[in-house]
Symmetry: C2
Subunit: 407 residues, 2 copies
């Protein structure tokens, strides 16, 4: 299905994706939009012009400065809104007179992406980070714990430090061991982690649990994510309660939220199946998604260098299983909660999701040569100030962050 | 300093405390109040009658349904509001005509506590649980990790499952080991944890840190807290990322938030001092508080039985040190964040903060005899359905929860 808007750039913002985001311009306050090619369709403006009156919902949910009210409406409404937008933007639309052939309205409701500032798409109540990537969990420095294949292992992250792509990342200070003595100073082992994350649409009641086969109904959409990690701080603090300051200084997400429906064609089986307790037995076997995510190291003196190509399919549990487990004891989910996979490494050296694995905790440097007129040899054990790590996935946009010095 | 309102009950809601809470009645929507004896002073009503116009702040902050807007104003405003309320309520007030001797106004702004419903006092962004109680950390089943005395160890908790006193606690289901095999079922080792917690007033910027000697300025006030724990679930899930479902089913807090200023007379030194890295060196040595918290086991067939008497002074780090550490890497705090101590056990068997310690993980039952006409022998290894655990501290009210069955 093609659109009358050119979607031939490499963004992947085509009619089958239609990701949601929050944008503003010099003239427009922060509002909900849908990315299409080089444009953003302004859903607030469309709602104000009465485009959604045929759908049974309160269209003020499309007029907020986050996606929360809209996400809370549930998949029936989301499907109808998406169908309507696809109809309006399709090449062969029957409603051409309403937008395609109406230049005045096009000027009012289509904004060039290059003129928009993007904002955090949802107000995040709680952020949970799982650990369902088996290649990361089994990396050379780690022990695979006995519980690992029995349940999706996870921990609570820090919602206040989730930021949108292009927010500069200040190198954290912290406490860590140097020559086996605790010191306080600039993190010396700053790393990224490639992850995939779901935003919760409809929440769940305190004291109730979500059955695994109904859990997908609670997902609004997905983002790609970089969970920045300070390995030296994390290593010294984590016994016995897990990561804290090693993770809570920043987590970056992509600005565009790809709706659940758009990922239907990319369904895939998880890495392995083995007997699970009934509350984790999901009827659907193609319960995960195959979304390639490229990881590039950019920076002032670097051209863009593709380091790794990860994939969201390298997981042992699906999001449905994560949500069923998360709510098994009655923990309530709320609209806007962010649920992430943990690091998505693959089986080969080209598919790693963090430097910890690529350099074996800094012991084997990652090296490459720049191309161009002047060839340089670049060596990284961990990230340096001035480095930019950029994650990219078709339809999600970019998830990037520049490392700035601690002072 | 005494009030013209009788504060001779055992609540501790006297003129020197004046805790804040959120209440509603049949006629009044949820609003901010201050507890005094058997009454609540309705600050919204007072604000509407223009009582705060002499203080330089937007009094709409006193008209919300949470304390957040008010807490964000900072300690200068809080002090002036508190001074004004103390003046109005003092026995020897110079402003007797405005309230004490004005029966019509008394009827409008004083509400009987018995007629009020109390609500969660703040909208909680993130909830962090520390582990600064040394007697709990060194309990017989635990190893004291090498990092423990060098930094306040903590982890991120689940904000969505924090509830107010008297919310029934459903026994969680979950995955745990039975005869060394993972099963899914009702938690069999349900426990409480006695804690003390601070609500953040003014937050901090992402990428900045709070110096330890300025950290108290970011605290609005304190609550007592029960961090319910499912020991069997927690034990099986916690390696390597820490507690998750073993903790995220419920955490109960007291309804009344005691302002920082009210605890000044109860300052105390922490348990031990030892050389700390400079970012944790606090000038003030009486950096913690001595607040006794009683723990009672109540229930249908039980009279109230006092099990333990804990104290908030049994900690190795102050809240100021916890906040300095928490923000050292740039993690932003937000108004309404909840920061807790972890379990507050003391050095003796009468001062334990959880059943895990009292029964050595269920191996040595806790036993007592009921008093009254019919003496019964009561035995607990962990909590049973129908049990009520009630924490009480003078001026904070009660923090209680009834265990209800999982179905």
């Amino acid at each position: 299905m093609t659109s009358w808007i050119d979607t031939g750039d490499d963004s992947g913002f085509c009619l089958d994706v239609l990701p949601y985001g929050i944008f503003s311009t010099e003239d427009l306050d922060a509002r909900i939009g849908v990315a299409i090619g080089r444009y953003i369709l302004d859903l607030k403006a469309l709602a104000e012009e009465g485009f959604f009156t045929t759908i049974d919902f309160d269209s003020s949910a499309l007029m907020g400065s986050t996606l929360n009210d809209y996400a809370a409406l549930g998949k029936q409404v989301h499907k109808q809104v998406r169908d309507l937008i696809q109809e309006l933007l399709a090449h062969a639309t029957r409603r051409g007179a309403e937008l395609r052939d109406n230049q005045d309205r096009r000027d009012r409701v289509l904004v060039k992406r290059s003129q928009a500032t993007l904002h955090l798409p949802m107000s995040i109540g709680d952020y949970t980070d799982f650990f369902v990537g088996p290649y990361h969990a089994q990396n050379p420095g780690s022990t695979l714990h006995r519980n690992y294949l029995n349940q999706p292992i996870g921990y609570h992250g820090r919602a206040s430090s989730v930021v949108i792509s292009e927010t500069p990342i200040r190198r954290p200070k912290g406490q860590f061991l140097l020559d086996n003595n605790p010191i306080f100073g600039d993190c010396q082992k700053l790393d990224f982690e490639v992850e995939f994350a779901a935003f919760i649409g409809q929440g769940s009641e305190h004291g109730s649990s979500i059955p695994v086969d109904e859990a997908e109904d609670h997902i609004f959409g997905f983002v790609i994510m970089n969970d920045w990690s300070a390995r030296d701080i994390q290593n010294w603090e984590s016994s016995p309660l897990g990561p804290f300051n090693g993770k809570n200084f920043a987590t970056t997400i992509s600005p565009w939220v790809v709706p659940l429906e758009a990922l239907e064609p990319f369904r895939e089986h998880p890495v392995s199946s083995r007997p699970l307790l009934p509350y984790l037995q999901q009827k659907r076997e193609d319960s995960v998604y195959s979304v390639p995510i490229t990881v590039s190291l950019n920076g002032k003196q670097l051209l863009s260098h593709e380091m790794f190509k990860c994939n969201t399919k390298y997981v042992v549990f699906s999001f449905a299983q994560m949500l069923a487990h998360h709510t098994a004891g009655g923990c309530p989910l709320r609209t806007g909660d962010l649920i992430a996979t943990g690091t998505l490494s693959g089986p080969s050296r080209k598919e790693l999701g963090c430097l910890l694995e690529a350099t074996k905790n800094g012991s084997e440097p990652y090296e490459f040569h720049t191309s161009g007129p002047e060839t340089k040899n670049i060596v990284r054990r961990y990230l340096e100030d001035g480095d930019i790590i950029e994650l990219k996935a078709s339809g999600f946009g970019s998830c990037s962050g520049l490392i700035v010095s601690s002072e």
